[in-house]
């Protein structure tokens, strides 16, 4: 355990080194929220309801997303693809440390930092824009919420590793794969941009079988107290299913990938 604590600490320090980089990343997050904010306020200028949401509900959703995405969608494991490509993976392979735990620990350190900043950003925006932020105080929602968050973090971790490992077979795909996966599919299907229940029913049914909605939409819905206990438990079961399935797939592909790894760069 101590080795992972040590790793967490040094990883956390490393995050601080590129201050400008980090600040820009946070600025991007804030801008995204602002875009969503202005988009929706414009749509609601006439008042009333759109897709069954009124203005306050939708804004509550969007600000809930800000916190959840800082926790779930921030990742250090995206660097694995670059490591495979450059041969730097060699260095972690030589260490008596579990590869997956190594990267999960590094993910946690970046998540901790992101959460810290997201907290103040949200506070700031909520105060400035006078958004009705929803504070969930009911423990029977908060408990499954935190549980679903942990599972969401694991799902995202394994998805990122899966995309990283494409690099074993197609080093030139590294950037494109990550972009398509992270910037397009995940953003769209996870509910990070809009609540998924505004989509047509048929489409929703399909999407709920995929791992993506469980990254953002599902935890936020629990937090906002919108799901009945049955649906919450059902969703958590699906999350659990994905965590197990993805971990098995990742493990399998990891072993195959290592056989192909050529430890390049001398």
């Amino acid at each position: 355990m101590r080795k992972y604590l040590g790793l967490f600490k040094i990883s956390f320090q490393q995050e601080f080194v590129y201050r400008l980089n980090f600040i820009m990343w946070r600025v991007r997050n804030v801008l995204q929220i602002l875009v969503a904010y202005f988009l929706w306020t414009t749509l609601f200028i006439g008042g009333g309801k759109i897709f069954g949401y009124d203005k306050n509900q939708i804004l509550t959703y969007i600000f809930g997303v800000l916190i959840v995405r800082a926790l779930v969608l921030s990742s250090r494991a995206i660097d694995v693809a670059g490591d495979i490509n450059s041969g730097d993976l060699t260095l972690s392979l030589l260490k008596p440390i579990n590869f997956f735990k190594y990267w999960l620990t590094r993910d946690f350190s970046t998540k901790a930092l992101n959460l810290f900043f997201a907290f103040f950003e949200t506070l700031f925006l909520v105060l400035v824009l006078k958004v009705p932020f929803f504070f969930q105080t009911n423990f029977s929602f908060l408990l499954p919420f935190s549980f679903s968050l942990v599972l969401a973090i694991l799902i995202f971790f394994f998805l990122v590793l899966l995309i990283d490992m494409v690099t074993f077979w197609a080093p030139e795909m590294q950037w494109a794969g990550q972009f398509i996966f992270l910037a397009i599919i995940t953003e769209f299907l996870s509910g990070a941009i809009f609540p998924l229940d505004i989509l047509p029913q048929a489409l929703q049914k399909v999407i709920y079988f995929l791992p993506f909605p469980y990254l953002i939409f599902f935890p936020v819905q629990i937090y906002l107290g919108k799901l009945a206990l049955v649906n919450t438990l059902g969703g958590i079961m699906v999350e659990g299913f994905w965590v197990i399935t993805l971990s098995l797939i990742v493990n399998f592909i990891w072993k195959k990938g290592l056989l192909r790894y050529e430890a390049v760069g001398r």
């Binding site: 080795k3 604590l5 030589l94 008596p96 056989l259």
Partner: protein, 330 residues
């Protein structure tokens, strides 16, 4: 007998995609990739005993680094067998990894943006080194490599030589029994090279660690390795004491002459190849087997003040190996 490293009929092939230049080439290789098999190691066998310091010699692409990578568990052998301190390297067991270290001249494990001390602390945790042992090792290594004031400086601000020495500390903190050094003096200036060599030599003597070292730097090999393994094109062509390289590969000997008066040097050409003339000194190379006959003939027919017979310098042999001038005789 005790053996730390066993390599038996080791084969490693790589699959390489071939691509013609230009956009059409890219398109072609995308639609129907042409693959080529590169045979990096073809049937290599050797064993190494505990405490040995062995030099790996061979030109670029001979398979030296590939061998080290197989031995440290990074590459999966296509065929054959490798064992290090009783483990199959590929399994990457923690108990195995704690006993080895691989230092590559071009790969840095120090965290670039943080002082080296931070990386050392992390390594202490990762290798589960007891605090007392860690402090002792660190103190000793820092003193030996003269690094006292550099531990708290951001790694990116250091010179290459300073960084390489710190890399070495990082690689040795857990006191590995086996040390693989891949081009440890690459890019270092002469003084830094010498320092590195002295350290490696001392380290081997003091800790009885087994060291396998590859280098293009002649001095590294001459100074350090008592035993050398020469590989070329994935095949082992020599394994033995450094001095024996000469007996094995030098087909000629050198005769140095000092003339007492003018003589017809053309006549010398019949006896051997004239390598250098700066009268009255002449250097001649003659076939090994007929050296004494040649010497006698010269003494009889020429006005000679002094004659010495020498071996071809080891550096020249190694250089020839690098230039692939020596062909494999099996």
């Amino acid at each position: 007998m005790d053996r730390t490293i066993i390599v038996d009929h080791l084969v490693k092939n790589f699959e390489v995609k071939e691509k013609e230049p230009g956009i059409t080439g890219s398109l072609k290789s995308f639609l129907s990739p042409k693959k080529k098999i590169v045979r990096a190691l073809r049937n290599i066998s050797f064993t190494i005993q505990p405490g040995e310091l062995v030099g790996f010699i061979g030109p670029n692409g001979a398979g030296k680094t590939t061998t080290l990578k197989v031995l440290s568990g990074l590459l999966y052998p296509t065929a054959g067998f490798a064992q290090v301190v009783g483990f199959d390297p590929w399994e990457k067991k923690a108990e195995f990894l704690k006993q080895i270290s691989l230092v590559m001249g071009q790969k840095n494990q120090l965290w670039w943006d943080l002082p080296a001390l931070e990386t050392f602390e992390l390594l202490k945790a990762i290798y589960e080194i007891p605090q007392k042992e860690y402090e002792e090792s660190l103190k000793e290594l820092v003193e030996l490599l003269d690094l006292k004031n550099l531990l708290t400086t951001q790694v990116r601000k250091l010179s290459l030589g300073q960084r390489m020495r710190l890399e070495l500390v990082a690689a040795l903190l857990h006191r590995p029994k086996i040390l693989f050094l891949d081009e440890p003096t690459l890019g270092l200036d002469l003084i830094a090279q010498q320092r590195m060599r002295d350290f490696i030599y001392d380290y081997n003597r003091k800790t009885q660690a087994t060291i396998l070292l590859t280098s293009h730097n002649m001095n590294d090999l001459v100074d350090l390795a008592r035993r050398v393994i020469v590989i070329d094109e994935g095949q082992l062509i020599f394994d033995g004491a450094f001095e024996e390289l000469t007996n094995r590969f030098a087909k000629e000997k050198i005769i140095k002459l000092s003339f007492s008066q003018e003589a017809d040097l053309k006549e010398l050409e019949k006896i051997g190849r004239v390598k250098k003339i700066s009268f009255p000194e002449v250097v001649l190379s003659v076939p090994r087997t007929t050296t004494s006959v040649a010497a006698a003939e010269i003494l009889q027919n020429f006005p000679i003040a002094d004659l010495t017979i020498e071996e071809i310098p080891i550096e020249e042999i190694v250089r020839k190996v690098f230039r692939r001038e020596l062909k494999i005789k099996r």
